[in-house]
Amino acid sequence: MSAQIFSRNANAIFRVILLAIVLLVSGTIVALIGLYLSPWYTEAGVAKAQPIAFSHKHHTADLKIDCRYCHTTVERAATAGFPATETCMSCHSQVWTTSPLLQPVRDSFQTGAPLVWNRIYDLPDFVYFNHSIHVAKGIGCTTCHGDIGAMQLTSKAQPLYMGWCLGCHRDPAQQIRPVDQVFAIDYDVQSLSLAERQQLVVEYKIPTDGRLTNCYICHR
């Protein structure tokens, strides 16, 4: 009987190793996709520290202050605009005037040094996004910014991946609402039927010929 190079269980070990390699490779891929979609990477739903513990819930849902009171350029510019300290002080020179939480606002107002907020929505520089056109065509604030009326501390509501943008650009009727409801924080897009929403798309002259999914629409 000649000597065996491989032991009796070599085949079994070989199969286990093969399986382990397959599992490792596919597991790594799945894990990477999971990371890519996880809040750890996308920052969706993760509140950031801010110089002032500003509550969107309090100001929008409780006090019913319109988005535009602070984000004044949302209807006419690409960016909605961070409010100037003067905007805060328009009310807070009268209410909560001694609150220690608002000391940074008062300091900023006196010294002229701006409050440095941490940006929540930071699009890559190769993406062109314009707030005013979305607002003018019936895409509401909460469609992208989520249930802002429930956010004590502000966080991103969407990972902002391109596929998500394209979802609307392929079929605007999914998310459209009447323009007079754009700034309503508790509006439910489903309160209009799909047919009614498709009617709005026609009424607002939103192109449905595929132009909205051209690369150049956002990458210009």
Binding site: T72, R76, Q94, G112, P114, V116
Partner: protein, 203 residues
Amino acid sequence: MNAMTHTRIIRIARMAWLPLLFLLAGCHIDMYDQPRYTTNQPSSFFADGRSMRPPVPNTVAMGGFSGDSALMTGKLDGELVAELPAEIILDAALLTRGRSVFDAYCAPCHGLLGDGQGVIAFRGPLVVPSYHTDRLRTMPIGYFFDVATNGINRMYGYGARISVADRWAAVAYIRALQISQNTNVSTLAPAEQTQLQSGSPQP
């Protein structure tokens, strides 16, 4: 194929993974954060830390202000104007826009009805005057534009926040509020009274 060439091919084939290194070239963020400033981005270049430079004092945008224009100031020859400037056309669209602007910027203090019972007035110690007094009903319309632009007493000016056209729209809506809140319901047409009772905003 002799053994020599065979070995050489195998040696080259072992290097086949090297082109994968080119993938690493994709690991950079200079397209995400391009060497330019975006709105509100901080800057380490300027001493005050902002990339958006504050305008030199007394700067106005081209076409953004004219001291002797009724449209820009609500005054003509130093007198408050009593009528809307010629550039602003009074129609339903103006009042609809005015309502939207008023509800967003004015209502927090002045209240949705202009009665001075807004949510900020309710919370603070301040007294916000109602529009529905004889003094303000007879005030020329330019007064409201002037106050909206430059502020008055404790109210800050909104000239930097609301565009000229929107300020006039809001002012026109204030006038409409004054009329609507000072109208005897029995003088309305029956159809309008029914509509009012039903609470529906517009037909």
